[in-house]
C-alpha cells in the first residue's frame, strides 16, 4: 500500500484528494505547505508526494528542490499538481516525476494518473 502526502493549501482540494486517495487504497497524509510536508516526511515513510506549486511558507518548487537535495530518500516520487502548466519543465528539471494539470482531471482520473506514474520507472508528464 502506497503512502501518499498531499501538500495543498486549498482545504477543498485537500479534502477531495484525501477522500479519493483513501478510497483508492492509499494511506494519506496532509500538509498545508512544503515546510509542513518536510516535517511529516522526516517522521513517516512516504512513497509519493503530491504537491501544489504556490503555497505559503514553502511552495512546490522549493519542496522538490529540498527533497532532491540528497538528504531525503531518492525513491520518493514527487508529482506536482498545478494549473501553472508553464512551470512543467521547471518542475521536471528540479526532479519531479510528474506534472498533472489540476483542473484537467477528475479526482478518479488523477488517482489513475498517479498510479500510472508509480508504475513507471521513468518520469511521466500529463
Amino acid at each position: 500500500m502506497s503512502r501518499i502526502i498531499i501538500v495543498e493549501d486549498d482545504p477543498m482540494i485537500s479534502e477531495i484528494f484525501q477522500r479519493k486517495f483513501s478510497e483508492s487504497g492509499f494511506e494519506v497524509f496532509l500538509a498545508e505547505s512544503g515546510k509542513q510536508a518536510l516535517e511529516i516526511i522526516a517522521k513517516e515513510k512516504i512513497n509519493v508526494v503530491l504537491s501544489d506549486l504556490i503555497m505559503p511558507e514553502m511552495g512546490g518548487f522549493e519542496l522538490t528542490k529540498t527533497l532532491r537535495s540528497g538528504n531525503y530518500d531518492p525513491n520518493i516520487k514527487i508529482i506536482i499538481i498545478s494549473n501553472l502548466i508553464d512551470s512543467l519543465e521547471n518542475a521536471i528539471e528540479l526532479g519531479a516525476n510528474g506534472f498533472l494539470a489540476k483542473s484537467a482531471f477528475t479526482p478518479t482520473e488523477m488517482v489513475n494518473e498517479v498510479k500510472k506514474i508509480l508504475d513507471e520507472p521513468k518520469a511521466k508528464v500529463g
Binding site: 482540494i13 477531495i16 477522500r19 478510497e23 494549473n83 501553472l84 489540476k102 483542473s103 479526482p107
Partner: protein, 575 residues
C-alpha cells in the same frame, strides 16, 4: 618722422575704434553691444592719454593727461564689469531696488573720477625718469587699486555664474572675453607690475610700459569678436588665431622697422603673403572644426536616440514581465474556483457521497458541463495570452501529419461511434511530405475541429481527410492582424467535414475572431469561446491558415487547415 611706436599706437587706436563701431552697428539693439562700444571708447581714451603723456613736453598738459589716463582706466575697468553683466544676460526684474542699486553702482566711478581730476588724493604729479615720465600717486591709490581689482573679479564672477548654465555658444562667447582679458592682464601685469622695477630706469621705459596698455587691444579684439561672431568653442581655432595674430604683428613690426625702401618692399611682400596664407589657414581650420562639430552633433544625437531606445526597451521589458506575471497569476487564480467544484462534482456523480436520484444526477451533470466549460474558457483565455505574448514555446520537429490525424481518429472514433455517428478517415496511399510541426499544437488544433464536429452533429457522418494540393490559393478571410497574404504553392490540407448543425453565413467571418465585447455577432455564437481563435494562432505559427465553410444552418460544415510544404523561414522555435 613717425617711429614704430607711433604707428603701432595709431593702428591700435584704429582697431579699437573700428571694432567698437562695428559691434555697435552689427547689433545696436543688444545691450551688450552698446556696453561694448562704450567700453571700447573708454579704452580709446585711456590708450590715447597714456600714449600722449609721454610724447608731450608741457607739464600742465602731462598732468591733465595723467588725470585723464587714471580716470578713463578706472571707468574702463568699471565698464568691464558692466559689460560682463550685460553679456551674461541675467534675468532682472526692473524693480526700484534694482534701480537704486544701479545708481549707487554707477556713482562709484563718478566719485573716483572727480577725486582723480580735482584732488591730489590719487594722482599727485609725475617725475621724469631717464626712460620717460613716471606718475607719483597719492594716498588714495590703494583704494583705487582695490576697486580696479574688485571690478575685475565682479565681471569674471558674472561670467562664471552664467558659464555653468548656458549653451555652448554662450560659453564660447564668455570664453573669448576671458581669454582676451587674460592676455591683456598677463602682458600688463608682466610689464607694469612684475618687471616694473627692472624697466623703470631703462632708457626704453616708455616703450615697455606701453606694452601693458597697448595689449588691452587683445581684450577688445576677443570681446568684440565674441559678440559679432560667436562660434563654437574650439581650442584648435583659438590657438591658430592667436598664433597667426602674433606672427602677423611680428611681421608688421618688421615692416615698420624697415630701414631702407628695399627692405620695406621686401618686408611688405612677406607681410602680405603671410596675411593671405594665414587667412587661408584660419579658414581651413575653421572649416575642419565646423565639419567635426557637425559630426559630433550627429554622433551626439545618435547616442541620445540610442539612450532613449534603451530606456524604452527597458520599459517594454518591464511591461512584458508584468504581462507574463499577470498570465501566471491569472492562471492560478482563475482556476482556483472551478477546480474544487470539478472535484466535488465528479465525486458526487461517482457516488462517493451517496446514491443520487435521477433528477439530482441530471442537474449535477449540467453543473459539471457548465463548470467544464468555464475551465475550458479559462484555459483558452490563458492560451491566447500565452500565444499572443510569445509565452508558448513551440517545439518544432519534422513530422508526418497523417500520423497525427491517425492518432486523433483513433482517439475520437469510439466517442463518435457511441453517439451513433459514422466517422471516416481518408488519406492518400503514398506518404505525404514531412512537415516541421509542433505535434502537440497541431494535435490540439485538429482535435478541436473533430471534437466540435462530434459535439455539433447529432446524426450522419464525420469525415477527416488529409491530402496534398499542389497549388492552393484560396482567398483568405481578413485577419485582424492584417499580416497575412494570399497563400499559393503546395500545401497539405486537413479537412474535417460533418453533417451537423452548420454555420449561418453571417457568422462565418467571426468564427475565428478573437472573443471581443464589441463583437456582438460573435457573442451570439454559443460555445465557440476562444477555442477557434487559439487554433488560428497555432496554425499561423506554422505558417499555415485555417478557415471554415458551410452551406448554411443545418447543412453541415467543413473546417480546413492548410500548411504549406515549404514553410516560411519564420517558423522557428519561438521563445
Amino acid at each position: 618722422m613717425f617711429n614704430s611706436s607711433v604707428i603701432l599706437f595709431i593702428i591700435i587706436l584704429f582697431i579699437d575704434l573700428s571694432l567698437g563701431l562695428l559691434v555697435l552697428i552689427k547689433g545696436s539693439g543688444a545691450k551688450a553691444n552698446r556696453t561694448f562700444f562704450v567700453l571700447a571708447m573708454l579704452f580709446f581714451v585711456w590708450i590715447g592719454a597714456s600714449f600722449l603723456e609721454d610724447e608731450i613736453v608741457n607739464p600742465a598738459v602731462i598732468d591733465l593727461l595723467l588725470k585723464i589716463d587714471y580716470t578713463s582706466a578706472f571707468f574702463a575697468i568699471f565698464y568691464f564689469s558692466v559689460f560682463c553683466f550685460d553679456l551674461a544676460e541675467f534675468k532682472i526684474r526692473n524693480s526700484i531696488m534694482f534701480k537704486i542699486a544701479k545708481v549707487l553702482f554707477f556713482s562709484v566711478p563718478a566719485i573716483f573720477g572727480l577725486l582723480v581730476i580735482f584732488t591730489n588724493s590719487i594722482v599727485v604729479g609725475f617725475e621724469i625718469l631717464p626712460g620717460g615720465i613716471n606718475p607719483i600717486l597719492g594716498r588714495g591709490e590703494p583704494l583705487y587699486d582695490l576697486f580696479i581689482v574688485l571690478y575685475m573679479i565682479l565681471g569674471l564672477a558674472f561670467l562664471a555664474r552664467r558659464y555653468r548654465t548656458t549653451t555652448s555658444e554662450k560659453k564660447a562667447q564668455i570664453f573669448y572675453v576671458i581669454l582676451g582679458l587674460f592676455i591683456f592682464l598677463l602682458i600688463a601685469i608682466l610689464t607694469n607690475v612684475v618687471l616694473v622695477d627692472l624697466i623703470k630706469n631703462s632708457r626704453n621705459y616708455t616703450l615697455y610700459s606701453r606694452f601693458g596698455i597697448f595689449s588691452s587691444i587683445f581684450f577688445i579684439l576677443f570681446s568684440g569678436y565674441s559678440i559679432v561672431k560667436h562660434r563654437l568653442l574650439n581650442l584648435k581655432v583659438i590657438a591658430t588665431e592667436v598664433l597667426s595674430l602674433g606672427i602677423l604683428i611680428f611681421s608688421l613690426l618688421q615692416v615698420l622697422n624697415s630701414q631702407t625702401s628695399l627692405e620695406l618692399i621686401f618686408n611688405g611682400i612677406i607681410f602680405l603673403a603671410l596675411l593671405v596664407l594665414i587667412i587661408m589657414l584660419v579658414r581651413s581650420v575653421e572649416n575642419e572644426v565646423k565639419r567635426k562639430n557637425q559630426l559630433q552633433k550627429l554622433t551626439d544625437s545618435l547616442a541620445e536616440t540610442n539612450d532613449k531606445l534603451r530606456v524604452i526597451n527597458a520599459k517594454l521589458e518591464r511591461i512584458d514581465a508584468t504581462k507574463t506575471d499577470f498570465i501566471y497569476i491569472a492562471s492560478h487564480q482563475l482556476h482556483k474556483v472551478p477546480t474544487p467544484i470539478k472535484g466535488y462534482l465528479s465525486m458526487l456523480l461517482e457516488g462517493s457521497y451517496g446514491k443520487l436520484s435521477k433528477e439530482q444526477r441530471r442537474v449535477l451533470e449540467n453543473i459539471k458541463l457548465a463548470n467544464d466549460r468555464q475551465i475550458n474558457l479559462v484555459d483558452d483565455l490563458l492560451n491566447v495570452s500565452r500565444m499572443e505574448y510569445g509565452k508558448v514555446k513551440l517545439d518544432f520537429k519534422e513530422q508526418q501529419l497523417e500520423d497525427v490525424c491517425q492518432e486523433i481518429y483513433d482517439t475520437v472514433r469510439p466517442v463518435a461511434e457511441e453517439k451513433g455517428l459514422k466517422f471516416t478517415y481518408e488519406k492518400p496511399k503514398a506518404a505525404l511530405p514531412k512537415l516541421i510541426l509542433d505535434k502537440g499544437k497541431i494535435f490540439e488544433a485538429i482535435f478541436n475541429f473533430v471534437d466540435n464536429a462530434v459535439k455539433y452533429t447529432s446524426k450522419g457522418r464525420i469525415n477527416l481527410k488529409i491530402e496534398t494540393d499542389i497549388n492552393s490559393h484560396c482567398e483568405l478571410s481578413e485577419g485582424d492582424d492584417g499580416s497575412r497574404g494570399l497563400l499559393s504553392g503546395p500545401v497539405i490540407r486537413v479537412t474535417v467535414a460533418d453533417t451537423g448543425v452548420g454555420i449561418a453565413k453571417e457568422s462565418l467571418p467571426f468564427l475565428f475572431a478573437k472573443f471581443s465585447r464589441n463583437d456582438k455577432a460573435n457573442l451570439n455564437i454559443e460555445g465557440t469561446g476562444l477555442g477557434l481563435y487559439v487554433v488560428k494562432l497555432m496554425i499561423e505559427a506554422h505558417g499555415g491558415r485555417t478557415w471554415a465553410e458551410s452551406d448554411g444552418e443545418g447543412e453541415g460544415s467543413r473546417f480546413i487547415i492548410e500548411i504549406p510544404t515549404k514553410q516560411p523561414e519564420n517558423v522557428v522555435v519561438k521563445e
